[in-house]
Symmetry: C2
Subunit: 434 residues, 2 copies
Amino acid sequence: MGKNEEKSVINIAILGAGTVGGGVYKLLSGQKDEIRQQAGADICVKKVLVRDASKERPGYDRAVLTSDWADIVNDDDIDIVVELMGGIEPAKTYVLEALSKGKQVVTANKDLLAQYGEEIGEAANMNSADVLYEAAVAGVIPIIRPLKQSLAGAEITEIMGIVNGTTNYILTQMSETGMSYEDALARATELGYAEADPTADVEGLDAGRKVAIMASNAFHTKVVFSQVYTEGITKITADDIRYAREFGYVIKLLGVARNTDSGIEVKVHPMLIPQNHSLAGVGGSFNAVFLHGKAMDDVTLVGRGAGEMPTATAVLGDIIDVCRDILFDCCGRVRRNCYKKLRVKDISECESKFFIRMQAKDRPGVLANIAGVLGNNGVGISQVVQRSGNGDTAELVIITDRVAEKNFNDATEILGGMSVVKEISGVIRVYDNV
Amino acid sequence: MGKNEEKSVINIAILGAGTVGGGVYKLLSGQKDEIRQQAGADICVKKVLVRDASKERPGYDRAVLTSDWADIVNDDDIDIVVELMGGIEPAKTYVLEALSKGKQVVTANKDLLAQYGEEIGEAANMNSADVLYEAAVAGVIPIIRPLKQSLAGAEITEIMGIVNGTTNYILTQMSETGMSYEDALARATELGYAEADPTADVEGLDAGRKVAIMASNAFHTKVVFSQVYTEGITKITADDIRYAREFGYVIKLLGVARNTDSGIEVKVHPMLIPQNHSLAGVGGSFNAVFLHGKAMDDVTLVGRGAGEMPTATAVLGDIIDVCRDILFDCCGRVRRNCYKKLRVKDISECESKFFIRMQAKDRPGVLANIAGVLGNNGVGISQVVQRSGNGDTAELVIITDRVAEKNFNDATEILGGMSVVKEISGVIRVYDNV
C-alpha cells in the first residue's frame, strides 16, 4: 500500500466510553476485515480512557481500560488519539499533548473546536499532524470534508443548518400536533432526545458552536463561539407556527453563516423558511445543512445529527482516513487554513425579513398607526393578516420586507410603548435568499 | 506546506474545451489567490487539448491551446491531466498513457469509468497515482469522496439516486402540469435540458453508468455498466402519475444499488416513492442521492447534477485535492479498492412491489379473476382502485405486495392473455424499504 509498508497495525486510544465512544469501539470490533481493507492496516484499540477503570463495562475488553492519561500519551505505539470525552478540559490538554507527542487526533468535540480551534489547528500544523472532526458537526452528515475538499473551490457564501436534533424534534412535534413548546419539550425529555438540563440545545448554544466550526472552514477565517449570536426556541408558540403555515412557511431553528461584502454573519435563531425550501421537510431528530455558492448553486446534505451509531460512523470514517495518512506518511495533508481576517458583523448590522405577531386594540386606525411607525423606521410591510379576537383585541401578524436589524428593533421598541399595542407576542426572522 | 516544499506551481492540462472544461478554465483563472491558499501552490493551466487549435475561443489564452496529445503527455512539467472530453476513446488511451507517465488524473467521464473503471484503477494503483472523479456522478454533489472516506465504515446497503437531471425535469413537469411525456420532452429539448438525441437520458443509460460507479465504490466490488438493468421513462403517462399521487406517491427515475445477502442489485427504472421520502421533493434538474447503512441510518445529498459551473466546481475540488497529494508526496492515497467478488443478481431475481394499471371488461367477476391469477403466482395485493370508464371498460390499478420479479412477470403475462383484460397500460416498481 503506502510508504510505511511494514506497518500492519495502527494502534488507537479512545478517550471516553460514553455513547459515541462505545459506538466506535463496537464498530471497530465488529467489522475487522472490512476496516483492514479500507484503512490499509489493522486498527487495534490499545487503550480506552475512562474515569473508573475498575467499573464493570459490558462489551469492553477489560485489559484496554485505563483511567491514567499517562498510559496513553507516553505509549509511543499509540498512533491515533480519538477524543470523545467532550467539554473543554481535560480534553484540550489531552489533545494538545497528543499532538506534541506526534500522535494524530480524531475528535467529535464541538465545544473544544468552537473555542480553541485555532490553537489546536496550529499545534497540528506545527507537528504535521492530522486533526479530523467530521463528527463534531451534524453527526454522520459529511460536511467538514466537503467544505475542505470536495467543495474547496466553491466560494460558499451561505450556510444554513438544522444542526440540533433536540430542537428540530420539538419544533416538528409542535408543527405536526399543535402542542405547546412546554409539552413538546417534556416529550423530548421523556424520549431521551432532550437532556435533563436542555439549555444548551433549546437556547441555540449547541448549534452556535457548530456554526463557528462550519464558518471557519467555509470562509477560511477564525470564528469562535462567543462571536456567534444565539437565540433559542423557548418563545416559539403554537400560534406562531400556525400563522407561519398560513403564510406558506415552517419554523426551524437554523444555524446561519454568511459571507457578505461587509463581513461575515454567524448566528443561530428560529426562522420562517418557505415550505418548498429543501430544509423545510427535514423533520424529527434529523439534521441538515444547506450550502450556497455562486458557481455550485445549492447543495443540501441530510442525515442523523446525533445518536450512538451514526456519530460513531462519522468518527470511524475519520479514523480510517488518518490511517491512510499514516501509511502514506502524509499526516497534516489537509490543514486548518484560516488565512483570511474577516470581520464578524454584529447582529444589529445584519439584515433580515421579520415576522411580527402582536395584540392590538381593535379599533379603526390602529393598523395605520402601526404601519406608520414601521414606515418611519424604514421597515416595509410585505404581508399582513389581521384577526379580531375576544372583546376589543385584534391579532395582527406582519411579515416585513428586508431591513437592518437595528431599524427593526427601533421600530418594535416604539410599537411596544404605544397604548394601542397590548403585547408583542412573537418576533421571528424570515428567510430571504441573499 | 508539504514535503515537495520547493514546488510552487502545479501544471495541469485540460482535455476538452466544452462546457465543463470551459467552466474549470474560468474558475481557475478567476480565483487564483483563493486556489493557491487551498491547494498549497499555484495551479497553472499549461495546455488545453482541443480538436482544432486554430479556432477562435473567446476567454482562452491562445498559447495554451493544442490539438496534439503528444504536447501534453510528453511534457514532464505537466503534473495533472484533467480529462473532460467524455466518451471512451481517445479518453481511455489518454488517461492510461498519462498514468503510465507518472501524471495524476482528474476526470468526469462516467462512460469511461463505468466500463473501464477497474483497468484505470489498476493502472493508478500500479503507478501510485491519483484518479479522482467526483464530478462523474451527480455533478457537484459530494458522493464519491463520502463513499470512499467520510462513510468508509458505514456498511452501506442501499443507494437510490436521482442522478439524471433531464429525466427528473421531464417527470417533474409531467407531475406539476399534467402534460404528456412527449410534451415534457419537447419542452426539455427547447430549454436545452435534453439533447437532440435524448436516448441516453430517457432510457436510463446515463443513470445506469452512475449506478455502476457508485456500486463499485460503495460495495468494493467490480460492477460494469453492462451489468446494470436499465429501463427508462418513455412509457410513463400522465395517468400513471395521477394514480400514483392518489396512492400517496410520486414517480421518479431512480438508480438503485443494493447489497443483499444473495448478491448485489444494480438497476435503473422509474419508481413510485412515498411523498414524504427525502427524494420525493427533489424537483426540476436537481440530482439527489439517498444512502442507507445499518449504523448510519439514512443520508440524503442534494444538488445540481449538471451544468457548467456546478460540475466545474466538483472538478476543481478534485484538482485541489490532487495538488495536496502532490505536495505531500502521497498520490495514490485513496485507491480503487474492489477487494470483494460479489455476485450481481439478474433483474428476475430482484424483488419489488409493483404498480400495475390495466383496462379490463367492466363486468362482474373480473376483479376476482385478475386477483386469482395474481394470487396463483404468489403476487399479493396491497391496494386496489377500480374505476368505470367509457362503455364496457373499467380501469383497474393495483399495488402489489413485495414479490420476486419473475413471479410478477409470469402473472402479468397470463393477465395479458386473458380475454377480460383489454390492455396492460402501465407497470412501475414501487419503493419498499428493505
